[in-house]
Symmetry: C2
Subunit: 368 residues, 2 copies
């Protein structure tokens, strides 16, 4: 499948093919099924070298376990870093790769109250190991999602849209008409920010890297609800002042890049505004003039969805409320999945390779 | 007066000489007095060139004016920057230099309720122009302070000790035993931080630049209450780990330097801690690794006393409460003035020259 075709289709979520044909029938635990398999690594290293598709023994279901048949799971940059051993949290080895995805409950232990066979579930926390066909998970590690959400959306809901949602909610009190500036606007988080902000009436200024097919990207992000799309170079020019005659200076900046790009966001931020850093694609640190902190009183913060989930582990209602809000937006067509390329689990090597290429904007989704 | 002698004596506040002999008698408005004079600048530039000691006409007292005889006023770096025209806020020209100091009320307008002749006052806001012998100020621009506070302390109370006090109060909830790390520990703010923190039971790690008479400085800061005094170089070495076996990692870092020094503070900060920047002596920006923001969840903030006073202009009780707290500490001997060198107003050129020399730690105080 050509990437251009994917990108052009990517602005609308659609169900994954295997499910279009299979339908969403409840699978029976007693049905004859293939032995559970998963992408396992026994040591850290380059994913293509250390990952192997292997049969995995299922844990005991017990009273509180939930048997989940995984449907689809994306390959995120953080999954790659975790396997490489460079991420901030690392699992005990051997481990199954993947931290996000969607599955269906096949069977639930007798004490499980929140889930029943047929329910669609996504991980409530990172580290579950989602690149597998089937698993027994603890009830508390899963979140039920409504059955009418496109599976591509469901499989990619628990990291990027949640990150976008929290960053737009937890750092500044924004009202309709307020503006938000972000770099990496074409990333998974960036696209979710554009859509959630548009749904809430916040104006977005979206910064992207220059590229040959820039107009195509601008059009696509505008079709998602972006108010302004500009390149890093345009942001540095004096002409950008014209922009701020049309809309207020942003009170919130979202930074997924670092380096000079972050310094530029900071420069355009309102007095007392906040820049939230959630990624560092440029591999450069953040540089802030002392005067911005002292005299403009800007605040520099960071956000990590994994930490938020840990901090709110005793308050699952907050997590459920967010998922409900996001599912409402999906239902209304206001939040769609990013451009995705579906790859059968067995072809994981090709998916890994594609996911690690620079400038590839289609997310690789493993279909189990 | 030799600087070493000043430094050695500087850890104890003492009254200014002119007042020791003059006593704190209430001056009479009708007494024969010299014409009011002040250090005026008509354009921005180097202070030695643009400042002139001139006679100044007094404004009308009116119903709500307060006639103040200035006693003493320090030369702060921000005063210099304001005259140079490089500071964040600049007065209308011509202007009188100086933003801090202590004076005595000679006469108060009939509607003035909070001040009476004989009261000692300090500025409630920046921009008053304190380098003058006498002025009519608005009641709301002045704060009464108790008569039993050494005048050197009073003259230097409204910027540095207030900055230290707010930074220790407004960013993290510290309890006795918690630790705070700061660079520029020998600055006016740094010394106030050491003393206020010691009074509240917070441990301080004080970072200073290496110098020939390091031990003398270490001893002096420890006599003020510093728990640990280390050089920038020591802070970068692995041995510094030993320090954090004795005391908890700091939850608050106070940065008056910027550049590499700030990055080092950040490196030792606890998870979810805050670094507050109030100065940039190195003239270098702040550089923060993306991972510190995302995975350590550290917060980067700034503080500017002038902005705080503006933000709290309608809430003078908060300002008065802070001044009372600080005066209590002064009375108990827990907060002293920094090393000061007193210079008669007429010798302002010598005082300006001394105040702009690098590595001079005695604050120049103009005596009117």
């Amino acid at each position: 499948m050509g990437l251009t075709a994917v990108a052009a289709r990517g602005s609308r979520a659609r169900p994954l093919r295997p499910l279009l044909s299979a339908g969403l029938r409840t699978l029976s635990a007693s049905a004859v099924r293939a032995r559970p398999r998963g992408l396992v690594y026994e040591q850290h290293g380059e994913p293509a070298q250390v990952l192997n598709l292997k049969e995995i023994d299922l844990a005991e279901l017990g009273d509180s376990g939930v048997n989940v048949k995984m449907i689809a799971a994306p390959i995120n940059p953080s999954d790659i870093n975790m396997i490489q051993g460079t991420y901030a949290t690392l699992p005990d080895l051997p481990a199954v790769g993947g931290n996000e995805g969607v599955g269906q409950v096949i069977e639930a232990g007798s004490r499980v109250t929140s889930l029943k066979p047929g329910d669609l579930v996504i991980p409530a926390d990172a580290g579950l190991g989602t690149w597998r066909t089937e698993a027994i998970f603890g009830e508390e590690t899963l979140l039920k999602i409504p059955p009418d959400i496109p599976l591509t959306c469901a499989a990619t809901l628990s990291v990027n849209p949640c990150t976008a949602y929290r960053m737009l909610s937890d750092f500044e009190v924004l009202k309709p008409g307020d503006s938000v500036i972000q770099n990496a606007a074409n990333s998974g988080v960036g696209q979710a920010v554009i859509q959630i902000a548009a749904a809430k009436g916040f104006k977005t200024i979206n910064v992207v890297r220059d590229r040959p097919n820039l107009q195509e990207l601008v059009d696509r992000l505008k079709s998602l609800g972006a108010d302004h799309v500009i390149t890093e170079e345009m942001l540095r020019k004096p002409e950008v002042k014209e922009l701020f005659k049309k809309i207020p200076r942003p009170i919130l900046a979202l930074n997924g890049v670092g380096g000079k790009s972050a310094t530029e966001l900071l420069r355009h931020l309102q007095h007392k505004g906040t820049m939230v850093t959630y990624g560092g694609m440029s591999k450069q640190p953040i540089t802030a003039p002392v005067s911005a902190l002292i005299f403009k009183d800007v605040k520099l913060r960071g956000f990590w969805m994994t930490q938020w989930k840990r901090d709110n582990a005793q308050n699952k209602e907050k997590l459920r409320g967010m998922i409900e809000d996001l599912c409402d937006l999906i239902r209304k067509g206001q939040l769609t999945a990013p451009a995705c390329q579906e790859v059968p689990l067995i072809d994981y090597q090709a998916a890994l390779e594609s996911s690690m290429k620079p400038y590839v904007s289609a997310k690789q989704i493993l279909v189990m």
